[in-house]
Amino acid sequence: MKAGSRLEKLLNQGEFVATAELGPPKSADIQLIKKKASILRGFADAVNITDNQTAIVRVSSIAAGKIALDEGLEPIIQMTCRDRNRLAMQADVLGAYVLGLRNLLCLSGDHQSFGNHPQSKNVYDLDSIQLVQMCKNMRDEKVFQCGEEIRNTKKSDIIEPRMFLGVASNPFGDPFEFRVVRLAKKIKAGADFVQTQCIFDLPKFKTFMQMVTDQGLHEKVSILAGVMPVKSSKVLQYMKNNVAGMSIPDDLIRRMEGAQDAKAEGAKICVEMIHKMREIPGIKGVHIMAVEWEEIVPTIVKDAGLWPRPEVAAE
């Protein structure tokens, strides 16, 4: 056991896990967090709590994560390198840990120019890989980035934050050949699980996974494939044109256009995608990114035959 988080345990049990996403509100509205949490409860083994997603100010991921935890979810705290330097990050890791949060997803983070404070100064003291490394060292070497031991005073004993560390991977970014290398790097840095960018272009993803398995990376880390239900063809079109590092086949867009009930079709596609994912060797689960559409998650999980979710086996 590295962190002993629920997610970790389920993966160790060899379950095909399903994680979801919970975007904290752009206001101090605690009810919204609770509402979303209640939707997802029982349908996701863990939920990512996003960190100022697309560089738009929101309730901090750790605070929201704590609430989710209290609501009976297993949160995965996302942490970007955009907004904090190494001090703040380590402080937050400690903070998250003392609040009982056990999963941490380390990200570079979208550039602030996308968000609602494009004029802000970005930090990028570390990059995502260095962040993972730092957290791993905090957990396993029990030291801060500076090398100091993690103890309050010389006399007091070492109490380190033990986080189950995740990273993101975008199989569709360029240069394509480098994507696997980068994943390998992240694993080397200490990643325990990987959540991929949401996948629409299956063939390309398969080639990616082929390269991954060829290098045996799938044995070193648990890979959760990202899937995304979309409400309309417009969303796809938008992502195709505006979201960097996205590969979306046109026939998919056409299919959505053709559909009478776009939403239903979106969900259907997502389900199909999940089924296909299960067949790909090296995939240990799915990460369902129903951005601002949490209510669809239960349906998808059910239709995908992933319900009910397994329990952690008692030791």
Partner: protein, 222 residues
């Protein structure tokens, strides 16, 4: 070289509010080469200000001069006589120039006519691009001679983020992805394997983050 860009003249016109006798000082080095503050631009700016003042019906004199390098006290000192009788100095030098002038002429207000933008080079005539952040700890040896600090929007040290597509950066289609360039370069040099190593956390204390910096060459100190 240092690349600067002239401020909007309206901004400058506001800054000279109420001054009677103005001297525009050009710099014959970097800002001349980057076509922002050389003799030609000084003349245009001065003339522009004169016109602006006349249009506002104000009486004021605007004179012009130019020196070798505004970032050298000795050169700036040489302005002493030229400066006499002026109640405002405008520097078309980079930020360094403005401050040197301020230091040398403590009693006179000096205002900047330029925005100092970047350390870079002309990509083509009239287009300048950034190449260095003066981080104080060069790693170009590891990155095939392409600087990730200045050319990656996130100054990442371990390869392109997920936003890199078709060699372009996620924040803007006409910005090259610095890491893509590094990748291509190392591929050409066939040293890709070096990218597999994790580049350690950078020591930013050598950059601005370590507070105002200083370079001391003991042997050269008199």
């Amino acid at each position: 070289m240092i690349v600067a860009e002239q401020k909007d003249i309206t901004e400058i016109v506001k800054m000279i509010e109420g001054c009677q006798n103005i001297l525009v000082i050009g710099c014959d080095t970097c800002v001349t080469v980057c076509l922002a503050g050389g003799a030609k631009e000084v003349a245009i700016l001065a003339s522009g200000l004169r016109l602006a003042l006349k249009v506002q019906g104000k009486e004021a004199e605007v004179h012009e001069t130019s020196i070798e390098r505004q970032c050298e006290k000795e050169f700036v000192d040489a302005l002493k006589s030229a400066v006499k009788g002026h109640d405002l100095l405008i520097s078309t030098g980079c930020g360094i120039g403005v401050q040197t002038i301020a230091e040398q002429f403590p009693s006179l207000p000096v205002i900047p006519a330029l925005n100092t933008k970047l350390l870079g080079l002309p990509e083509k005539q009239g287009v300048w691009v950034e190449r260095c952040q003066a981080c104080g700890q060069c790693i170009l040896d590891k990155t095939g001679g392409v600087c990730p600090i200045s050319r990656c929007s996130k100054s990442l040290l371990n390869g392109p983020c997920g936003g890199s597509q078709n060699g372009k950066c996620e924040i803007n289609k006409d910005i090259d992805c610095g890491w893509h360039l590094i990748y291509e370069r190392l591929k050409a040099l066939n040293r890709l394997e070096s990218l597999a190593e994790i580049m350690p956390v950078k020591n930013w204390s050598t950059s601005r983050d370590g507070g105002p910096r200083k370079v001391i060459r003991e042997d050269m100190c008199l």
